[in-house]
Assembly symmetry: C2
Homo-oligomer: 142 residues x 2
């Protein structure tokens, strides 16, 4: 992610939070920045390390709280199968995103909206879908 698009993404995020009546505080903003800067999924404890260069502050709850907030705002997604997090540049309030994760280079492509279930049980009502495809991207294909 380029410097420019990072700046832009942060501005968008700021706006988004305002619209929701919430605040993108410095900690939250910093965490979002770190997630967006990464070129792939980021682990919570790596974020923790990255936050630490100020002494004292930055314990696990700091990071997890920020991540929870960012997820609820749709600015970050959790990759459940990796216990890791990716930044989200599309704005979307609904729960669904489809992730394509390259096992070679680690990059993640996000597509908005989960695919329709093929064989949904009768009467089932979906609230939230986790859809993660692992494989090889065009660059890494072999």
């Amino acid at each position: 992610m380029t410097r420019d698009s990072l700046t832009h993404a942060l501005e968008t995020a700021e706006t988004r939070c305002h619209e929701r009546g919430e605040k993108l505080t410095p900690v939250r903003r910093r965490v979002l920045e770190l997630v967006l800067e990464a070129d792939g999924p980021v682990k919570a404890y790596d974020l923790l390390e990255a936050l630490k260069p100020g002494p004292g502050s930055a314990k696990p709850p700091t990071v997890y709280r920020a991540l929870d907030f960012l997820m609820s705002a749709g600015l970050v997604h959790k990759v459940e199968a990796l216990n890791a997090f990716v930044g989200c540049t599309h704005a979307h309030d609904d729960g669904g995103a489809e992730l394509f994760i390259c096992s070679d280079c680690g990059t993640v492509e996000e597509r908005h909206g989960a695919p329709d279930p093929v064989h949904m049980p009768d009467g089932f009502v979906i609230e939230r879908s986790v859809v993660e495809h692992f494989g090889h991207c065009a660059n890494c294909k072999h």
Copy 2:
């Protein structure tokens, strides 16, 4: 799961392992049994507890190794978003299964085969898909 269908599932599992040139050892069999008996996703450490009534044995690696084996044999699936495991009564070698998890009663319905991605990135080749739908089943709908 009824007693009969449990027995039957274990027999099927046995056969399946044989076909693959692998062994359903007592530990593996016991873990599978525990997973199948449960009416919903089971946590690894709950299995550990359940295995313990023999003194000494049953440390985490025991359970995780058994689960890894059972997953590779397609007999158990991991629910990534819950860090939990469900038994699989369909036989299937491919990686894909679609899970419908009721957030109220905890039951899991499995459907064979992942849905086609809606907007796959150009050139991406999928190896394994994680598809988990959370919501409310017909019984718990409100």
